[in-house]
């Protein structure tokens, strides 16, 4: 039972972490080498693509996607897609893919005379699924070792923490004022019930316990 509980918790934590890791903005310092447009037929990886340009027909089975090709300081390649997110998920409200493509094209540099840029993006590059991070912004930086403080992520995570604490307080207030008095009226029956089933997890373990062989 101990292991089931911890496996479940680990899965939940991993899942939440993955969502944040995918969605929150990250910055890469790279050298842009090329920009291009490819037609993409969305398949099993369709969840990892954003939406068609805002205002255009988003119901077609395939469409052209803009790409930005780049290299890290280490010489490793990275390819970004450049898609509108529009007013959907994730909430970047990015509508200017064409402009971004023009900026990226303008910042192309050669190996011999590298011009370093910071590409802010969300998402993952995965070769097995052919998925690419979505570039959100691009700006020239002085060199490959500039330090970028992720203010946006700090603000978002702080705000989320405050909201979660706020909702926890609201729930505790509701329980104290509206649920507990009712339970106290019910009397001893509730004490018995609550000692056995504390919350949803208690009920799940209680149910699983009924399957255990009696010693």
């Amino acid at each position: 039972m101990h292991y089931v509980k911890w496996t479940f918790r680990m899965l939940l934590v991993t899942f939440v972490f993955s969502i944040f890791h995918y969605t929150l903005v990250q910055h890469d310092i790279v050298r842009v080498t090329n920009t291009e447009v490819r037609r993409i037929d969305f398949g099993q990886n369709s969840i990892f693509w954003a939406s068609a340009d805002t205002g255009s027909d988003g119901t077609t089975a395939n469409r052209d996607v803009r790409f930005i090709e780049a290299f890290y300081y280490t010489g490793k390649p990275m390819v970004y897609r450049n898609e509108d997110t529009g007013f959907g998920w994730p909430p970047y409200f990015k509508l200017d893919s064409s402009n971004l493509q023009a900026e990226a094209r303008d910042l192309v540099s050669s190996k011999d005379a590298p011009g370093w840029v910071s590409i802010s993006h969300y998402g993952w590059r995965n070769e097995f699924l052919s998925i690419y991070p979505n570039a959100v912004g691009i700006k020239a930086v002085s060199g490959p070792d500039v330090r970028i403080i992720p203010w946006v992520n700090i603000v978002i995570l702080l705000t989320l923490t405050i909201l979660i604490l706020m909702f926890r307080r609201m729930w505790l207030q509701f329980r104290e004022r509206s649920i507990d008095p009712v339970l106290e009226d019910v009397g001893e029956a509730s004490d018995v019930a609550r000692s056995h089933a504390t919350g949803l997890w208690g009920r799940v373990t209680g149910w699983l316990g009924t399957w255990r062989s009696k010693p």
Partner: protein, 87 residues
């Protein structure tokens, strides 16, 4: 049509949050009034004192500030659209 969908579902979500925060704020106010009566006032009608206090709360600034639940996300979205695309 994404902007309309965001507007409709966003409004519904914020309306739910608005109601929940309103209930919470009123509940906190009532609890505070109960505590004040129990510890300081102790004379007169307890229910009347609480009802009176809640009537004051209905017109208070704190109750009006709950409307920020609608205002802040709208401003944030408008700001994000500007910063992401035109800044």
């Amino acid at each position: 049509m994404g902007i309309i969908r965001l507007g409709v579902f966003g409004f519904l979500a914020l309306a739910v949050i608005f109601v929940l925060v309103s209930i919470y704020s009123r509940s906190v106010q009532r609890e505070k009034l109960e505590d004040v009566w129990d510890e300081e006032v102790k004379t007169g009608d307890r229910d009347a004192y609480i009802e009176d206090g809640l009537r004051d709360y209905e017109g208070s600034l704190r109750k009006k500030l709950i409307w920020l639940v609608f205002v802040i996300p709208t401003v944030v979205v408008a700001g994000l659209v500007y910063v992401t695309n035109f800044w």
